[in-house]
Subunit: 392 residues, 2 copies
C-alpha cells in the first residue's frame, strides 16, 4: 500500500467544497467532470432495461450486443478491425489501466508514461511492482507535443510497455499523424506493448482523432482504453471497455471474474442505445464544449501573466502561469490556494499531474471547463483576472 | 497472471447455455443468481436520481447518505458501532475481497479461507502473493460446521488474516453464537485480522444471523463485506460496501481512487431507498426463497442416493451425492455432465468450490435455487430423480 498513489486533485475538490460550505462562491475548474445531462435516449434505454428486469448478473465481459457495438464504433472511427471477442466491458475507463498492467506487466518491468499526465498511471505502475518511466509533453509554437526521440532514448532492456494518452490530459495535446506513425514504428522496433488511453478521443474540436491501434503492426501489441464517460456525458455511470488482442481480452475478463464479476447489467443497454440510436448526441455535447472552450480562451486573453495554447481537444486548458505566479511571488500550492480564497477559482496545477522534471522552467495550471456553463466560465475567469491584476 | 484463478462455475454456465441452445430444457441450479425483481421502491429511486442528473462522479467512497444508511443498517442488524466514515461503497461485494487483501496482506502472508468455499478467496489470495491456507466445513448431525480448533491448529507465524463466510456458500452453514465467539477469541489471541463475508447475512430462514464484527475486540480487527445483491435481489446492479476501522476504510477508498474512481452514482440512491423506505422488502424476498427451499428439500427427499441437510440460510442446498455417484460409477465431472445431458439439470459440484482435501470421503453438489420458480425446482429435481432411478 505504501507504493499506492492517489489523485491529489481530490484534495483540491475537498478544499473547494469546504470553502463553498463557508458561504463562498466557487468556480470549480478543478474537476474533470461534466455538468451536461446524459442524452435522454441513453437514459430511457437504461430505464427500460431496468424495468424489464435486467437486474441479474450478465456475462463477465459484458452483454454481447454492447461488445459488438463497441467494436463497431471503434472500427468505424479508428479504422481498426475488432470483433466482439476483442472487447471487455468495464465499470469505467479507469479499471482498464490496472487490468492492462496486471495482464502484461511483470515485477520490475519499466513502463513509459506521460508526465504531465493522468496521475493514476504512475500510481498503478508503482503499486503493481513496475518501474514508472516518465516522458514529457512540451509546449512549442502554441501546441503541446511529446517527443518520439525522447521516448526512444528512455527505452532500455526492461522497458515493456508504453502508455499513450491521446488526446492528452492535462495539456489537450493531439498527436499528429506523423508523430503517431513514429510511435507505432518505435513500439514495433523496440517490442513494446501500448496502452492507448482514448478517453478523450471524441472530444475533438478541429481535425480528426486517430488511434495508434489502427497503424501497421499495432493490432497485436496495443490495447485501447475506451469509455462512455466523456462522449455521452456519463462520467458517473462508470462504464467503459478494454479492446485488444483476443488473449489479452480473455485475461482482462478473467480479472473481471475475480474483481467485480461484471459491470452493471441494465446500464449497458443505455450505452448500447447511445451507440445504435444516439446519432448526433456526441456532436451535440462536443458543440457545447466547443463554445465553452471559446469562452474560456477569450476570458483568459486579458488575464495578466497568463498565456494559453489553443487545444484541439479534451475539455481542458493548460495555460502557462509562470509570470502570474512570479508576480504573486507564489509557489504552486500558494498560488492555487490564493486563487481559491481570493477569487473563488479552483483549479489543479502542474503538480497534480506528476512530479515536475528538473528541466521544467515554465509553470502551468489546468482549467477544466466541462463542469461550468459559459457564464460561470466567464465570471470565474474575470475574477481570476481581477485577482491577478491586484498587486501583492 | 499464472496465479490468477477463476470461477470454474462459469464453464458450467457456458455448457448449460450451449445445451439449451441445442433445443433442450435446462434447469439452472448452477447459478448463484436470482430471478426475482428488484423491489420497485429501489428501481424508482434509482430512476429518479438518473433523471435528476445524478450522472456525474460522486465521492470515491460513495454518497454520504448511503454510507450513513449502510452503517445504520449494519449497526441495527449486527449490534456494531459503525459510522459513515467506516463505510466504503463498492461496485459489488466481490471488490471488497481484493481490496481487503490489497490493504492488509503482504507478500508471503498466510490467509485462512474456507474450503469448500467461494473460489475467489483462494484465487485472489494467491494472485496477490499470499499463501492460501484452507479450513474445512464438515457435515455432522444434519448441519455443516467449521472447526475453530482446526483453524487454530493451522495458524503459524506467517498467518495474518482469516476469511469467514457466514452464512456460508456453498454449504449454507451458519455459525452458532458459541462458534463465532470462539473464532473471535482466536482472532484476538492469535492477532488475526478477519474479513467477514456477510453476503448472505439477510438470507436467513430460521434463527438470527450475527456478525463476528460485533464481538469484543473485533471492531479494530474486522472488515465486513456487505452487499445489496442478495437482500434486495440486485445482483446485476453491482453495489456493495466494505465496513471496517477508519484507517482500513481510507485505504480501501484510496484503492477506489485508483481502480474505479467511484461506484455508479445514481444507483446508490436506489440502494438508499431500499434501506430507508424498503420496509418488508427483504422479508418478502426471503419468504419466496424459503418456499423454494422447502420445494427443493421436498423434491430431493425421494431421490435415490442423495441426502441433504437442511440449511438455515443462503439460497443453496449442498446434498451428499456419494451413493448416487457410486451408482452411476461416475466421477464429479462425468456425473455433472450426465445430469445435464440426461436430465437437463445443471449444477456445480464440490470441485467448483476449491480442491477437495485428501481426507474428504463424501461427495457433494450445490443446488442453487434462487434462479428457479418453485415449479421449475420441482420439475428439475423430479427429472434428476428419474435419471438416478435409471440404472447405468
Amino acid at each position: 500500500m505504501d507504493r499506492l498513489g492517489t489523485e491529489t486533485a481530490f484534495a483540491v475538490s475537498a478544499e473547494a467544497r469546504e470553502f463553498e460550505a463557508r458561504g463562498n462562491t466557487v468556480y470549480p475548474f478543478h474537476v474533470g467532470d461534466m455538468n451536461l445531462p446524459t442524452p435522454p435516449v441513453i437514459q430511457e434505454a437504461a430505464i427500460r432495461a431496468l424495468r424489464d428486469g435486467r437486474t441479474g448478473y450478465c456475462p463477465n465481459g459484458g452483454i454481447p450486443e454492447l461488445r459488438e457495438a463497441i467494436a463497431g464504433d471503434v472500427n468505424r472511427t479508428r479504422g481498426t478491425g475488432y470483433r466482439a471477442e476483442n472487447v471487455a466491458v468495464q465499470p469505467g475507463g479507469k479499471p482498464v489501466i490496472g487490468k492492462f498492467l496486471q495482464a502484461l506487466m511483470n515485477e520490475g518491468d519499466e513502463v513509459l508514461y506521460p508526465n504531465p499526465g493522468f496521475p493514476i498511471y504512475e500510481s498503478q505502475i508503482e503499486y503493481l511492482g513496475g518501474v514508472a518511466v516518465p516522458y514529457a509533453y512540451r509546449e512549442r509554437d502554441g501546441r503541446f507535443e511529446l517527443d518520439p526521440e525522447e521516448i526512444d532514448s528512455r527505452i532500455g532492456p526492461a522497458t515493456k510497455l508504453l502508455i499513450l494518452n491521446d488526446l492528452h490530459n492535462p495539456t489537450g495535446a493531439a498527436c499528429t499523424r506523423e508523430e503517431m506513425q513514429r510511435l507505432a514504428e518505435l513500439a514495433c522496433r523496440r517490442d513494446l506493448f501500448v496502452l492507448s488511453d482514448e478517453a478523450y478521443f471524441d472530444i475533438r474540436y478541429e481535425g480528426e482523432s486517430g488511434s495508434i491501434a489502427a497503424l501497421p503492426g499495432m493490432g497485436e501489441r496495443c490495447a485501447i482504453l475506451y469509455t462512455f464517460s466523456k462522449k455521452f456525458a456519463m462520467t458517473g455511470w462508470r462504464l467503459g471497455a478494454a479492446l485488444g488482442p483476443k488473449d489479452l481480452t480473455e485475461a482482462v475478463i478473467r480479472l473481471n471474474v475475480n474483481q467485480e464479476s461484471c459491470s452493471n447489467h441494465f446500464i449497458q443497454y443505455g450505452a448500447l442505445a447511445g451507440l445504435t440510436e444516439g446519432a448526433g448526441e456526441v456532436e451535440r455535447i462536443v458543440s457545447v464544449l466547443r463554445d465553452r472552450r471559446e469562452a474560456a480562451l477569450q476570458a483568459l486573453q486579458p488575464v495578466p501573466g497568463v498565456s494559453c495554447s489553443r487545444p484541439r481537444g479534451t475539455f481542458y486548458l493548460y495555460p502557462d502561469v509562470t509570470e502570474a505566479m512570479r508576480a504573486k511571488g507564489a509557489d504552486y500550492e500558494t498560488f492555487r490556494r490564493r486563487a481559491l480564497e481570493e477569487a473563488g477559482v479552483s483549479f489543479c496545477t502542474r503538480q497534480h499531474f506528476g512530479r515536475p522534471g528538473p528541466e521544467e522552467e515554465r509553470a502551468y495550471i489546468r482549467l477544466a471547463y466541462a463542469g461550468l456553463d459559459e457564464s460561470a466560465i466567464r465570471e470565474g475567469l474575470a475574477r481570476l483576472q481581477t485577482f491577478l491584476e491586484r498587486s501583492g
